[in-house]
Symmetry: D3
Subunit: 232 residues, 6 copies
């Protein structure tokens, strides 16, 4: 089931003591998607009186997907930007089942640590953030449904990635662009290349991420994986 412009009624983590009914932020959408009335909306509407009495609030929840191999400053900027536009953000750690590959060196658990530490370090209010590892299904026609199954409901997707944008648009979601960052510097591929060449990779990632990668001997792992004959 898809949620487009409508609102979602759940406990928010933001400030439990001040629960109240809020209007969703104006999304200033760059999509033409219009309101719809579907089963879920009807269920939510039927529950509305109870919800109001229970002081539940309306949440605008966004989605941001990354592989974070590793998490870098560009990812952090994207999360900060998205959080200015929604109440809560679901950060999906994509391709969660992969690790120890040339292009996917770190496990989902290690990437969970990276995202978490970086948000703490940056004083991002991570109570507004859900961090959820989601394994790939390799059938793209199923991918949106898979993400929906692993995550809290969301109603806007932040992405510049052409395939991600297309799949969520075809499924009827509002999809918004992220402001452009210096793509050359801030890609995970670039960070891994610097690691292999012994360059100054650590300035491309948050300090807490650099420290974590050191702790788990991550640079040597990336280098070993770059030398292997084994393809994934």
């Amino acid at each position: 089931m898809k949620n487009k412009g409508d609102t979602l009624f759940f406990f928010t983590r933001k400030n439990k003591s001040q629960l109240k009914l809020q209007k969703p932020k104006n999304l200033n959408s760059n999509s033409n998607s219009q309101p719809q009335t579907n089963l879920r909306t009807q269920i939510i509407k039927a529950a509305e009186p109870n919800l109001k009495a229970g002081k539940d609030i309306v949440v605008n929840r966004g989605l941001y997907v990354g592989r974070f191999q590793p998490f870098h400053i560009g990812h952090l900027d994207a999360i900060k930007y998205a959080l200015e536009n929604v109440d809560e953000l679901v950060v999906v750690i994509g391709s969660a089942q992969y690790s120890h590959n040339r292009n996917d060196p770190f496990t989902a658990g290690e990437r969970l640590m990276m995202v978490h530490n970086a948000l703490l370090e940056a004083d991002v209010d991570f109570l507004k953030v859900w961090i959820v590892p989601v394994p790939d299904v390799h059938l793209h026609m199923l991918w949106v449904s898979a993400v929906e199954g692993y995550t809290p409901k969301f109603n806007v997707v932040f992405s510049n990635e052409p395939l991600t944008r297309r799949l969520f648009m075809e499924a009827g979601y509002v999809v918004k662009n992220l402001p452009l960052f210096d793509r050359k510097l801030y890609t995970s591929t670039h960070v891994r290349e610097k690691m292999i060449q012994d360059g100054s990779w650590s300035e491309l990632v948050p300090k807490s991420v650099a420290k974590f990668i050191d702790q788990i001997d991550g640079v040597n792992r990336v280098r070993d994986l770059a030398r292997t004959d084994k393809v994934t």
Copy 2:
């Protein structure tokens, strides 16, 4: 992407020489689903002038899912009923990858033959029918998307099966009940039990299906599978 009440513009197989714009049949829906405007609708609307000029017609297309292990007279009645309510019907052969199991003795190819032969025998206009094998994904949250990926677009689902009904309703589809048939007689389980007990199974299935099962030595296969220790 989901299609609820809107129309679909494709070549129909029904009568190629008389293509014209048709109004969809009134579905007399037992769902509360209301019209929506989503991306696909917009695409189709943008293409509408061209489509009209090209003499394409509007098709109401239904979906009917079965495992057909084997195909019996109840299945045939259901297909006939559905075809009275839509222009075309997609008949999905479910659990397509399974065969040689106690509850799934026949291959997708064999079941394709059964459906096909039964429709020919019954003088059903099978030009209105699409027969499509679809393998199971065992994650129910992905199943509707998987069916959508394997089939022509449809806008109404015919089913009495509680899980099928729920999954398509949660995905926003119009779901209609089938009239009740004598469930005790016309279930595939009952037919297989009769086969094992050497009872009069053949009167429960169309004649052409009975003949086909004889040709492929199907009753002996069903009996062997009933005696096996191997679970699926």
Copy 3:
């Protein structure tokens, strides 16, 4: 179970009112495969008197496998050629589970529409054609068995593709070459490249396929997929 030179006794779709026992067309095989007598042959032989009484006919059925990403004029020519040599043809839509990939942009359902529309447009007697989506198993040692499980029985394979030819030959099938078409023009890769470059792709595919691709906004999908960072 493999069928090599022997005949298959099923209902044919060709002309239901004139069912009679036919001799299979001479396949003029380019394989050295010789007749064999196996279990299936014995079953069929035992059933023969009944079959004759039932006016069933003998069917020579061919197999043709393609991904059809998208379906182009070369595919149509191949199907026409094959149909001159067999009574019926099973057209397998291969890699059926994939879509929204750079090299596999269209879903099985969309490709089913393409093949169907193209056969209607070309006045090919599609009553002689079975269109069957078959998902890939990535273990080539299992692929022939998987195709056999999803399809009506066939006894000759049409292919120029070296792997397809080898797998079916090793499994004992008669494998026949298709006449050479202008490979440079008529490959799906070439059509997709033309789509990305905004070239004149539509003349490479049947008109009904071009129109269908327009309806589903297919060119923009192909372009988005060409720009993605995501590998399959």
Copy 4:
């Protein structure tokens, strides 16, 4: 790589402003497992001076696995108990890929909401809790490695479940029992049965979970799934 009795050096979420080196709590283990020195220990030891300088602290992290179909008061009690014995707890939402089954009605995303809401409601310091959905691998010999790959490092497992206990014990982990709760009342199976029979299920789960299940029309879903013929 397995961690048994040794300590883990990461940022803790507990109190970011007071980072200091802590001694792990005495686990009062009911296992005979003894200290070992392996590669990870050596890496961590080599990094220790840096870590101390960086004011990182030592974390005792536990693991607790449940399917939470749905989350009930027994689960909450188990989490509270475990948190008295460790600094942080990883709560794994098991069988994450399943939903809409008779025994697994809710998606991972819905269960994530349940756990989250229940912890907030109970004033559990959920900053000490990591909630991580982990899909099943059906090869039990791989399951411990899969859990390790999806989660932050942990060094003690809380479980009464015989298979979970055995798998983690064979892998060398400290495994501790949970105090016995009234098993008859507090099992997810019992809650689902009450839902189907229209009994007083809601008193078996935290209030916020009951409300959430109402919002998503969960009881009707559970009832539909109980009536289906479809096996998983």
Copy 5:
């Protein structure tokens, strides 16, 4: 590719110093399968002069499939019987990927040890035996091909199991019955039940198998698995 009655030309392990061309033993088949000439036969025939010059010998190789959970005296008797009828025997350890399940407690590696130790203990000439773990594919239509892909070529199958017999017969193999043993005593299910009930299980298995199970604490594993709530 299937092998029915024809012979196979490979090195035999039996007696390397006395390689010579042998006639295959008369299989005294209880199948009606008749000789066929297929591609493999042609390849082998073409290679025959070289083979003869190289002193290769003709090998009749049988197949015997079991799960061996655990290996018991009935399995040993079956292997001994089969070896009286063929030159070599491929012993397939089926469902190789499973372990730590109620009905599949032991890993493929542990079962490999059991078979190996039992053959050594029984003075079976295990140089005539190939022990090959083969993982299940759950699509029975693919299973014969999967077994063929994992094993040396074989030309006769020994089995009383109805599904195994049917699948190999449909694929054209000679399938032979094994003499009946006391089924009540000698089934793996019975041995596991005795283990759980603390009965005298060890007399049902070869001594070396009993000792091995003791070494790996197997009885406690079987008991833990019997108490688990987790289904496979």
Copy 6:
């Protein structure tokens, strides 16, 4: 469960008539791994008196992994070297499920024949060798556990491959280098290239392997696979 420096008590195949307690060979390890005491060690220690009475011996067992596409002289040299350092060697045929691919032309069964024939030809005491096909799991975080599940217990790994070394080191195993052979000549890739170019490939593999490849028409298969458009 991991085994590092400790010993394993099983029947050895080496010389059944002279079973006695042996000290493991000094592995002269290039790892810093130190002894540990884990559950398995305790089990084994508890069983020790029985084992001694039963005249079991201590086995140092190594692991060597290859795809053997095809088996060449470098593989043989590696096996010979490893056998000088351990009592027994487990030779894993990796990527066992693949065949008929450009880089994986041969089935597991065919590769089993190659390894076996080559060891016989080279007068390697193959009674010291376990040859075990192991299918790939594509999640590297699970791979060590998968290998452990398919094989007899081993306590040292021989490999120069960076990924294999890293995965087993992270899992706590002793990993030893193999002496360097002429890598340019003795790689399977090089052998397959020579096959395609009609070069002198046969001198790169043992004679019995060359003969076997001829028997199964392997060179033509490799050439067909090199010409295919199909990617794996």
